[in-house]
Assembly symmetry: C3
C-alpha cells in the first residue's frame, strides 16, 4: 500500500490487515509510555485546506507516538489556492523531505492529484463529498472490537442517519461496512440521498423510527447547517423530529446496540440526548481508536520495521 | 496534587514543596543540554480560549524540557464556545490521550469545569478575574530566591500596584504571598479595589508614593486599556501620574528592593521607566523562573519519576 | 560566527566553510533516518513578523533534523509591533531559554536590532529589501554542486532577472556570487534597478533576450504584484513579454544552463513555462538544499559538536 486515497481499492483482507495492526497500536497506546521509535526520522506533513483541528491533531498524535516528526501546513479556506499553486506547495514541501502527506481539501480528488506531484505517500484525510477512508477504518475497528467479532461485521445491522448525499463519512463507511459483511441501511430525507443511487447491498428507510428498534449500530451523521439554509432539508425542528436521536428513541435501541457519530456533534440538531448517558455510546471510543488506526495506516504505508514497535525503545 | 486550579487549596508547606522542585528544574535549565526524560510519552495539551502566546510558550517549553509531547488547541476569542461544545472539545482531546490540560479562558471557573470532563490533570493558566496560580508560584519563587529567604516571605513588604479588582495575578499573588508570611499592600484607584474587600492581612494605600520608599518588592500590574475606556480609571495621564513607575520614584526605592511585572508591560502607562535600567528589576527573571516553576508543576502533577531528572538521560 | 545577519561580512573562505558543512548535512538528509543529535536540548525560535511558511518550515525542519526543539512566534502584519514591544517580545522569549532566533521582518535592520536584546544567536531570514543571507548560501550551494565546481563560481555567468531594487534575494545573491568569482548580470526595468547603482563587478542588460543564450545560470526573481500596482513596472503583459521566461526563451538556453527561482513562483508572470519541463531547472533542488544549508548555519552558529553528526546517534 503506497497511498490511502479511498477505501474502494481495499478488499476485506486488506481492511482486516490494517485493523490487526491497529490492535497492536492500541496496545502501545495503553502503555505507560505510549511511544515507540518505529518511524524515527520520518516526516509527516499535515496539509489541511479545510479546517479540522480534531482530525489534524489525531493524525499528528499518531505520528508523534511513532516518533515521526510533524509539519503543519494550514490554509484558510479564504485564500483558496489555484491548482498550480497547490502543486507548487506540495512540490516545495516534498523537496524539504516529507515522507507522507496527510491531505484534507474541500474538493473531491485533490489527494489523488497530490500523488502526481510527490514521491511521498499521500493519505486522504477527507476530500469534498468523496471519501474519508481513515474514518471508515476507525469506525469498522470500533464496531468489530466492541462486538468481539474479529474483523467481520457479518450480519450486523448498521443504520446510518443523516445527509448521505454530501457525506464523505457515509460514502467511505458504506463501502467498508458492506465489504466486511454488514447489512447497511441509510435513513435520510429523499433530497439527501445520492442521486446516482445507493451502493449494492445498501437499503434505505424513511425515518429513524424505522431502524432504531432493530439495529446493532446507530450511526448518526453531522447535519451541516448550510444544507438547511439551501432548502435541501426541511426546517430544523422537522428534521430533528424525524431524524434526530432523542431519549425516547434511545430507549428503544436494543440493549447491545452501539451509538456512533464522527464528530463534531450538533447537539440539539441530530443529537437530542446527551450521549454520555447512553451505555451504548462509542463516540469517544471512536476518537481513541482514531489515533490507533491512523498509527496503523502511517506505519503500514511508511513501511516501519516491526522491531520498532517493541516496548521501551523510543 | 491532581490538578492546579487555584492557590487557595495550597498551604505554605505545599507551596514550599513546589518551589523546592522548581530549584531542581532551574538547575536542569542551566545545563548545556537542558532536557530530561522525566515525562517521556506524556502529552500536555494547551487549550487557550484567550490569546497568550507568552504563557502558552512558557508551558510548552516546560513540557518539552521534560520530554513530554505537546498539543496546541487555540481558539480565537471571536468563535466563542458554548458550554457544550467546550465540553465536547475537552472530551475529544482527552480521548486522543492527553495527560494534562493547560487551560486559559476569559471566564472564571472554566478550568474547574474541565476537570469534570476528563480524567487528565488540569492546570489553570488564567481564568477570568479569578486565578493564575502558576504566576503566583513563579513570583514567590523569584522573590524568595532573590532574597535568599528559603521558602519564606516573612516580614517582606510587597506592594502590588494597579487594577486589583480585575486581576487574577493580584488575586493569586495576594493569597500566596500572605501564606508565605509577606506583608502585602495594594495600591489602586478606589474603583479598582475588590468590591468584597481585601483578603485578611492585606492593607491598601492610596498612591504609589505611599509605598515606593519602604517596600521590599514593588509589583506593577498591567493596566488593561479596556478599563480606561469604561471610565473605571481616571484619564490615562492621571493614572500614570498617581500609579505609574517613573525614574523619580524608582530612585526612591530601597537599594535592595525588587521591581516586578507579570508582562506584557504597557510602557508609557504603568511603566514609565525602562526597567532594564533598574538594578532591582526581576522582570526577565520572572520569565526564566516561569519555565522552571511550570516544569515543577507538570512534574509533580504527572507523577514523573525522580530518576527521570538525572543528567544525560533524555 | 555568532550571528548571520548579512552576507557582507562573509568572505569567500567563510562562505566555502559553510558550504562544506552543508555537504555533510546533505549526506545526513540522504540517510534512511535523517536525524542526528547534534543540537539536542537547544531551542530555535522562529520569530516571523512577515508571513513565509516555506522559509519558516525550512528552518524548522533543519532544526528538527539536528534534534533541536523549535518554538514558533508568528505575528500577522496587521498587528504591527512598535520597537519597544518588539524588544519586550525578544527579551521575553530569550528569558525562556532560546539559543537562536530566526527572524523575518518587513523592515530592514530588525534582525541586527534583535542582537542588542538577547545573548542568543540571531539569523536573518529576510529583512525588508536588505538581505536574505541563507537564500544566497543555498543558491551558491545549488550552483556550485550542480556544476561540480567545488566552492568556486569562477567564470560562471549568472543572470538575475526581475525587481533588483526591492529584492533582498538579489542583494544577497549579487554579493555572494561575485565573491565566489561569478560574472553577474542583472536584467530589470530601469525603474527597478537600485538607485545607488550596482555592486562592483555586476553588469546590467535590458531584457532577458540579451542573456538567455549565453548564461550558465538564469535566476528568475518573483515579481511582487504591488510593484505593478504602483506603476514601477509596465503593464503585466508587457513585463512578461520582456522579462518572463517562456518556452521559446528556455529553448535558447545553453544545454548545461540552470534555471533557478527563490519561490514562490508567479506562474504566468515571470514564469511562463512549466519549470518541471526544463531539464536545467534547479528550483526544487534549491528547496532541498535550503534545509541542508540552514542545518549548516544552525550547526556552525550554535557550535554543535562534530561527534553529534555521526550516524544512528539521535
Amino acid at each position: 500500500m503506497k497511498h490511502l486515497l479511498t477505501t474502494v481499492g481495499l478488499d476485506a483482507a486488506a481492511i482486516a490487515g490494517l485493523l490487526d495492526v491497529a490492535d497492536h497500536m492500541s496496545e502501545i497506546n495503553s502503555r505507560q509510555v505510549p511511544k515507540v521509535p518505529a518511524l524515527r526520522g520520518r516526516t509527516v506533513a499535515s496539509v489541511f485546506f479545510e479546517d479540522s483541528t480534531r482530525t489534524r491533531l489525531s493524525f499528528e498524535t499518531a505520528a508523534k507516538r511513532l516518533s515521526a516528526d510533524t509539519m503543519t501546513f494550514s490554509v484558510s479556506t479564504s485564500s483558496v489556492n489555484k491548482g498550480e499553486s497547490l502543486r507548487d506547495t506540495i512540490e516545495t514541501l516534498s523537496a524539504m523531505g516529507v515522507d507522507a502527506f496527510v491531505v484534507r481539501h474541500k474538493s473531491s480528488g485533490v489527494p489523488a492529484a497530490v500523488t502526481q506531484w510527490t514521491d511521498a505517500a499521500v493519505i486522504n484525510a477527507g476530500d469534498g463529498w468523496h471519501q474519508h477512508p481513515t474514518q471508515a477504518l476507525l469506525d469498522a475497528f470500533t464496531i468489530t472490537r466492541s462486538f468481539g467479532d474479529g474483523n467481520s461485521m457479518s450480519g450486523r445491522r448498521v443504520a446510518i442517519i443523516g445527509d448521505i448525499k454530501h457525506s464523505r463519512v457515509a460514502r467511505s463507511n458504506m463501502d467498508v461496512f458492506v465489504k466486511l459483511g454488514a447489512e447497511v441501511t441509510v435513513v435520510a430525507p429523499s433530497t439527501l440521498l445520492p442521486p446516482g443511487g445507493l451502493p449494492a447491498g445498501v437499503l434505505s428507510a424513511h425515518g429513524i423510527d424505522d431502524v432504531v428498534g432493530s439495529c446493532d449500530v446507530l450511526y448518526m451523521l453531522r447535519m451541516q447547517r448550510e444544507r438547511m439554509d439551501s432548502a435541501l432539508v426541511p426546517e430544523l425542528g422537522e428534521y430533528s423530529a424525524r431524524f434526530g436521536l432523542d431519549a425516547a428513541r434511545a430507549a428503544r435501541l436494543p440493549a447491545h446496540a452501539l451509538v456512533m457519530h464522527p464528530g463534531p456533534m450538533n447537539r440539539g440538531v441530530e443529537m437530542l440526548v446527551d450521549p454520555s448517558t447512553l451505555p451504548g455510546s462509542r463516540i469517544l471510543a471512536q476518537v481513541t481508536n482514531g489515533v490507533a488506526v491512523r498509527m496503523a495506516v502511517l506505519f503500514t504505508i511508511l513501511g516501519g520495521a516491526a522491531t520498532g514497535l517493541s516496548q521501551g525503545d523510543a
